[in-house]
Symmetry: C2
Subunit: 273 residues, 2 copies
């Protein structure tokens, strides 16, 4: 999916919402546990109930890996179930030396057919470049994450006063164009969005941390928008666990709809259609 296509789908749906399928066997509604594949049943119901409200789905791989080989099958089937119209993100935060990163790329781009994968930048260019050799596939590089630990290293000042995550933003743009490279920027840092948008004007950002982690949609949108919207805002727990009973999918839809309506308003203000 190209950047332009993502942009057009956002305008069409009046939504830049990404829904995180962090589907945890210990948190899904109890009545699903009698299903042959409870997580798959949960994911399908969530997708059915929300697909008109979002433009992307992001399974976090940890929740599938923790179920072993069976979880991997659930992930494959979930990906097949997501409509082709939606951008898919393997939230895997991988990254290894070149010959190994090629294998991770093969896992997520060939063995499965994700549109994109999240990558940790610590190991540098040759750990990222193998993912960039796939046409129409995206790298979403961690820049400034939404968790408290982002202050340990990402916000360290380098000589020359720049913070580490800012170097990640500028350095990585030498490796790939905005047609293949997005950045993860946590919604818990709205005060940083203006400078981040200056450093990476054309890239899309994947923004986790709205909802359960407390990020402010309005602030990050106002500072984070670029001419092609440039934002995919993710909510996981706030949507998929909005309900805990038999009406969980309906409750998830309400939570997603609540965000989508705010997004429509913010898009209207900026892109006025």
């Amino acid at each position: 999916m190209t950047r332009k296509e993502i942009y057009h789908r956002i305008l069409q749906k009046q939504s830049y919402l990404c829904i995180g399928l962090d589907s945890d066997i210990e948190r899904i509604p109890r009545h699903l546990l009698s299903e042959q594949d409870p997580i798959l049943a949960f994911n399908k119901a969530i997708i059915d109930a929300t697909k008109d409200l979002c433009v992307a789905y992001k399974p976090n791989i940890a929740f599938y890996e923790s179920l072993g080989a069976r979880g991997w099958q659930t992930l494959e089937k979930t990906l097949e179930y997501i409509p082709d119209t939606h951008f898919t993100i393997a939230d895997a935060k991988r990254g290894d030396i070149g010959n190994t990163s090629r294998r991770y790329a093969s896992a997520f781009f060939e063995q499965m057919d994700f549109d994109s994968i999240t990558i940790a930048p610590y190991m540098g260019e040759d750990s990222v470049s193998p993912f960039l050799s796939f046409e129409n596939k995206w790298v979403i590089l961690l820049a400034l994450t939404s968790n408290p630990g982002s202050s340990n290293f990402q916000k360290q000042h380098l000589q020359g006063h720049q913070e580490l995550y800012q170097l990640v933003l500028t350095e990585a743009q030498k490796w790939a164009s905005p047609e293949q490279l997005m950045f993860v920027v946590g919604a818990t840092h709205p005060e940083h969005f203006a400078i981040i948008r200056e450093l990476a004007p054309d890239n899309f950002y994947l923004v986790p941390g709205v909802g359960a982690q407390g990020g402010d949609l309005e602030a990050i949108s106002r500072y984070g928008f670029n001419d092609q919207v440039g934002l995919l805002v993710n909510s996981s727990r706030g949507i998929i666990y909005a309900g805990t009973g038999e009406d969980f999918a309906e409750e998830a839809r309400k939570a997603a709809s609540h965000l989508q309506l705010q997004m429509a308003k913010l898009l209207e203000e900026r892109f006025g259609q």
Copy 2:
């Protein structure tokens, strides 16, 4: 396995060799492809041929993930086949926000029973701490990796002149004792080992990059040893692909033996038994 136990096994075997099971379906000997599970057959033969020469095995998870659910089963069976006497490392380079890292910890420490896992530090303390809540399990944190990209961020100078990887070494020691925390330090940086050993005197280092990547065993051992040896030196491709024919296990044994003999000599010089 405790630090003391690792130390004693090293002295007993006169080896601090870790063998990397980066077992690639495209590189294993062709005659194995008729086996029901070629990678498992390969791993078993390598383990049988080398287990008296090494103290640890390190499957790199990428090679198993790239085979999907089937690869995950191969990984589980490989782990079961490694003798209990050997330290096992899931080379996964994971790291995510707290509730997600707990799932990765569950995947590798509960669903499977690895002794340790490699973790990327970029997301900071709360991405690492969930792995530390498991007794007798180790975190092996990336500090200075062996690949060219280590210069992009890891070697950046921070304000106060320290390099980023040095801050990782000192900061992470606030999170865990040397009984639970090792560091990855690539063999391709022997000139850094003296200062690294000063910054993290008691921790074990997992040292990749000897062999295929060109690291120098003698230099890193002289500068990297501490009183409890403190080094696990990994070789992957240099051992497991030493041969390509039917005698591949024998050739792997020769390559492992070559390293083990050098290690015995270096241990003798330093610990003189």
